[in-house]
């Protein structure tokens, strides 16, 4: 179940490099990309920006902006170019930034929970979709059937509420109980372990 969706309308992209690097990207209909030497120190920066934006405008248009449109009048209608617009905002020999605005908001992420469908169409407890995709365990262990609180469990519960006894039980479980949790010990299928815990910790060794 998806409970939140994140969208963006405009994206600022900045690329930084201390070495010569090139990058290219396209959205929707791919267009040929011309390259320009930004790091040329002998050219005017304003002309560089103008030239780059001209290249980008050509890349997003059905035909180059400087094409002779008059001569082609009456030819096939221009194809519809799908995608957004991109404009060069800043460029140096070490970095380049683009500000791109999309015609329709772009989904960049979502929050969701997975619910296993049980018998009869019932839903199990939720698990994080992200964690499932990442392969990380979110449920703390395999489900165990509740066994009820037997006589030993009923003795451990009030004893556990006394100061310092939780730490004692945890130490005992680490040493003799296979390091299972206290909740598992109390109402899981561990009757023998509960009996031993009562003997060792509450009744005391004889």
């Amino acid at each position: 179940m998806i409970n939140r969706v994140y969208l963006v309308k405009t994206v600022d992209v900045s690329l930084f490099s201390n070495r010569a690097t090139s990058a290219a990207g396209s959205a929707g209909v791919p267009q040929p990309v011309q390259l320009l030497n930004i790091a040329n120190a002998n050219t005017d920066a304003a002309k560089q920006f103008e030239a780059i934006n001209q290249i980008l405008a050509n890349a997003g248009s059905p035909a180059p902006a400087n094409a002779a449109a008059a001569g082609d009048a009456g030819a096939m209608p221009p194809p519809v170019a799908v995608g957004g617009s991109v404009k060069l905002a800043m460029a140096t020999s070490r970095s380049v930034s683009f500000v791109e605005t999309f015609r329709r908001p772009l989904v960049i992420g979502y929050l969701a929970s997975d619910y296993a469908i049980l018998k009869g169409g019932m839903l199990a407890a939720p698990t994080s979709t992200f964690n499932m995709l990442e392969g990380r365990a979110v449920i703390t262990g395999k489900a165990i059937p509740y066994q009820g609180c037997d006589a030993d469990c009923a003795r451990i519960r009030p004893w556990l509420k006394q100061a310092g006894n939780q730490a004692k039980l945890e130490s005992w479980l680490e040493a003799k109980g296979g390091a299972i949790s206290i909740a598992d010990l109390l109402t899981g299928d561990h009757a023998d372990l509960r009996r031993n815990a009562v003997k060792d910790l509450i009744e005391g060794p004889n």
Partner: protein, 61 residues
Amino acid sequence: MALQPPSPQTNVPRDDAGDVVDAMLLDTRVRWIAIVFNATVNGVDQFTVTPYISDPTSSGG
């Protein structure tokens, strides 16, 4: 060696769910607990109690 996190428990009767949650919360790593209706057996509602150490509704903990 730390104890294992508590396991989910199924078929927990309504009146016992509080005690099971209480025991699960003794583990301070448990941040979330889901209580999902399981079935009604002999007129008693039973639940699955599932502890989480991370937030199941988002990517974070």
